[in-house]
């Protein structure tokens, strides 16, 4: 890597509370959605499938989660019928 090494910083001190808060937000989101009976949404399913990737070894967890949420196909679609994206692949390109 061509950049200088950063000086030693305790990254756990710096970011643990932020990560803890975000993890609890995921947990409470799932609790909320379950209470509302909406667990069958494909986006929730995609989130649940991504969560075990947090326990993977190696420093590529973020990339692995993004890959798990991505459209895996290679060919352009015939026509765009919407402009937005949902955040998880629905199974239909």
């Amino acid at each position: 890597m061509e950049n200088d090494s950063p000086s030693a910083v305790n990254l756990v001190d710096l970011d643990f509370m932020d990560a803890r808060a975000r993890l609890l937000d995921v947990a409470s989101f799932l609790d909320r959605v379950e209470r509302a009976g909406q667990m069958d949404d494909y986006r929730v399913d995609a989130l649940l499938k991504a969560i075990p990737l947090l326990q993977n070894a190696g420093p590529d967890r973020a990339a692995e989660i993004l890959l798990s949420l991505s459209d895996p196909s290679d060919e352009p679609i015939p026509e765009a019928h919407t402009k937005g994206a949902a955040g998880a692949f629905s199974g239909n390109s």
Partner: protein, 266 residues
């Protein structure tokens, strides 16, 4: 700290945003042409927009001591009306003569459709013909991986387009490697929810290095943060990075990329 904001849609922002950016040390803003939030109804609407980007907006920025540059295109979100897209692309060469226009952008893909790809290829051809820099938008969320691959393939089909004169923006952890491996510049966009947080963007710098990469706020009419870029610089300092490294990412790199256009002067 002086910095360059290499991607911001200032026509959608207030003078208070300009003032805040100037106070934070912003020297230069580069503003790619963008989607208005609705589809424009005619090429004349684009002509007016391009006139705004090349006329009034640089004057607005100058009031805050900020130099303003821009890029020309029709956004991929408006590619399904191919007739309109072609009419807009035909307008672009006239505007490439303007003093603050650095190139073609932000072109790219949105939903990865055939028409989007065709319009992207027409834009690349204009850049090729007029020897322009290119700024590329990659799709959102689940469409980003596939779109990034299609964009790289499309660019490689133009042998005269040099990768070092193209920046592929909005990379994330799963798309930065193919962009950098192909020799292109990579842009990282800091957004409150989608795209990248400052923490993740700095992680990418630490893994992939600081050559040929920049960060931007891409602030527009939606939920976005005009000061995201200097805030990320502050976070880099908290992470122990040197002033020299921070200046490289937030000033030297965007200057070096954009200075490939003879119009870019600070």
């Amino acid at each position: 700290m002086k910095y360059i904001e290499p991607h911001a849609h200032m026509v959608s922002r207030t003078t208070a945003d300009y003032e805040a950016m100037a106070l934070a040390g912003c020297q230069v803003i580069s503003e790619p042409a963008f989607w208005a939030g609705y589809d424009r109804s005619s090429e004349q609407g684009f002509h007016d927009y391009f006139s705004l980007l090349t006329g009034f907006e640089p004057q607005r920025a100058a009031k805050f001591g900020i130099k303003h540059f821009t890029w020309m295109c029709i956004n991929p979100k408006e590619s399904e009306d191919v007739g309109l897209a072609n009419a807009v692309i035909d307008l672009i060469p006239e505007f490439l003569k303007c003093d603050n226009v650095l190139g073609i952008g932000e072109i790219g893909l949105n939903k990865n459709s055939r028409n989007e790809l065709g319009v992207l290829e027409r834009h690349i051809a204009v850049a090729d013909e007029h020897d322009q820099l290119i700024l590329v938008h990659t799709p959102h969320l689940e469409d980003k991986l596939k779109g990034t691959k299609l964009i790289i393939d499309a660019l490689k089909n133009f042998p005269n387009i040099k990768p070092e004169r193209v920046i592929i923006d909005h990379v994330e952890e799963h798309t930065v490697a193919p962009v950098k491996d192909a020799g292109f510049w990579a842009g990282m966009t800091l957004y409150p929810e989608s795209k990248l947080t400052s923490r993740r963007a700095i992680d990418i710098l630490e893994k992939f290095g600081t050559d040929k990469i920049w960060m931007n706020c891409a602030c527009d009419w939606g939920v976005s943060e005009p000061l995201a870029t200097p805030k990320a610089a502050r976070m880099m300092a908290q992470r122990g990075h040197s002033e020299k490294m921070i200046e490289k990412v937030f000033f030297d790199n965007p200057r070096d990329f954009m200075a490939q256009s003879p119009k870019f002067e600070i």
